[in-house]
Symmetry: C2
Subunit: 290 residues, 2 copies
DNA sequence: ACCATCAATTCCACGATGTGGAATTCGATG
DNA sequence: CATCGAATTCCACATCGTGGAATTGATGGT
């Protein structure tokens, strides 16, 4: 991805700002609950899988577990209802108990509601599929999506899907918006995972630099070469959580002119959204809107 | 007002005075993953807690774990983001990672959408708070809720909350709608949990009989004596999952006349809903409606 | 201020529990 | 039918989780 020189930065990203201290991982690795952590990382792997779900091999590899170990844990998770399995394809997907827990785990700030209008306006304007992404640990999470009128990727990201921070436009924009120390930590943590997306830690670092210089993120789908994404980080995130808006379309639709157009639109919407987010009070303990 | 025997308020039994009996591991001796099961049952306990969340003691007791064990597991679950903790009250509640998983774990049938109209009509008609409940393992789960104009319970059930099958009107209706063999199994499995709600397995059995004979469930709030509930099971459930509709109000609002009125309304709405459910196709892999 | 009480947290010796290499079965593909 | 990779089962070993006991912290009553 070369930088077209005339793509001037649309907005200044204020780097290295404190995110309000959201770290919770520094748990001594010696503490007694390896199994639980492994189980959770299997769940994360499953929710990173797209399409028809993930096979044992994929999950074991992804979580860095021996196959028999993964198998045993998956069986328990399935028995408990956290996972479901399609007997035909032998793939796992998230189970109904997780949906049920999700109902009870209302977020302190309802990002989807707050950004609904923004997503709709963008989709309306560009006609392509628009995403709301946020950070979740070392992953980017697809929080919401609006499908545009134009053709969409063959295997689109679904709401709730995860991928490593830095992989994909929306994800890259989120990563680049983190303080540098965080960026380094995340890239280091994800180093092993980039390979399966045809990337390397080194390349991600370059992308982050470019994204920061440019003010927004572009990707030319390395995985599926036909698609391209444009994304911009959302001010100080949503309720303290780093986030981004992104637009994905077939590559032909996103030539340089149009990239610039979309980027300007995203920048405008991001600014408006930031104003809304600044005003909106915390919505402390409310159920998910019906 | 004199109440028929089945309406007689149950006297409040002292909650959890004696736990001299410390039976460890009611968990079936299954293949290698006791920890994971314990962790999941802690999550279930947390999502059964109302109000400000659950303390270590409550959770350890509820899950039948020793306090240090529960403490260690809770710490890991928190570090992983499945739980959050309020440092002031030292209580746990479900964490944002569960919300995120919930986004990805779309149910095969969107019960909330299918029943939205029904809930609204009932609430409109009676003016009290209306619930949609379903079965989840040995628990009843609050899937959805509409608040009526009238006064609502001090500590209302929230969307996503769980309680043991049989405790509360909506939950009792679900239990009574199960095949007898299932009912026995569930009551046996929950036997230890009824006590903290001031109930016994024996009494639940009686309630189930009464509910089946009557065709709908009534409870006079055992926990907070001011409230009363009326509930009816939904035909063959929703997408194969047993479920119920319930109405809760302050006891004075629900005298015998009104109970009968509400019950008739519920029966009518249940019949209409059953017809809708019979037609509605499965909604295979769709995200949660925005 | 002081003690009493109960919850939360830390410690640690013990052994049950989870582990993963190896072997076996299953399923798809040519 | 043969071949290969994935899924599943087996099992001896020692790692990891366990819970009783001790310590610390919070709360409330007098």
């Amino acid at each position: 991805m070369t930088l077209p020189p005339y793509l001037a930065p649309v907005s200044r990203i204020d780097l290295d700002r404190s995110w309000g201290l959201r770290l919770m991982d520094p748990l001594p690795p010696a503490d007694g609950a390896r199994v639980v952590r492994r189980a959770v990382s299997l769940l994360r792997e499953v929710s990173a899988s797209r399409g028809n779900g993930a096979t044992l091999k994929m999950l074991a590899d992804g979580a860095g577990l021996a196959q028999p170990t993964a198998h045993r844990l998956l069986k328990v998770l399935q028995a408990e209802g956290l996972l479901e399995r399609d007997p035909a394809s032998r793939t796992y997907r998230l189970g109904s108990l997780l949906y049920e827990f999700g109902l009870a785990a209302a977020p302190r700030v309802d990002a989807r509601r707050l950004c609904a209008g923004t997503l709709e306006r963008i989709t309306e304007a560009v006609g392509d599929t628009t995403y709301l992404n946020c950070r979740s640990g070392d992953d980017a999470l697809c929080l919401d999506r609006r499908e545009g009128a134009s053709e969409i990727p063959a295997l689109p990201i679904e709401i709730g899907n995860r991928r490593p921070l830095g992989v994909g436009a929306g994800s890259l924009a989120v990563l680049a918006s983190l303080p540098s120390s965080e960026v380094d930590a995340v890239i280091a943590a994800n180093a092993g995972r980039y390979r399966r997306h045809g990337l390397t830690a080194e390349r991600i670092r370059t992308y982050v630099e470019a994204t920061r210089a440019r003010g927004f993120a572009i990707t030319s789908g390395r995985i599926v070469a036909r698609y391209r994404g444009v994304a911009i980080a959302i001010g100080n995130g949503i309720g303290g959580t780093p986030a981004s808006l992104s637009v994905v379309a077939v590559a032909e639709r996103l030539d340089l002119r149009r990239i610039e157009l979309v980027a300007r639109l995203l920048a405008r919407e991001e600014k408006a959204l930031r104003a809304i987010l600044a005003i909106e009070p915390e919505n402390p303990r409310k159920g998910i809107a019906p």
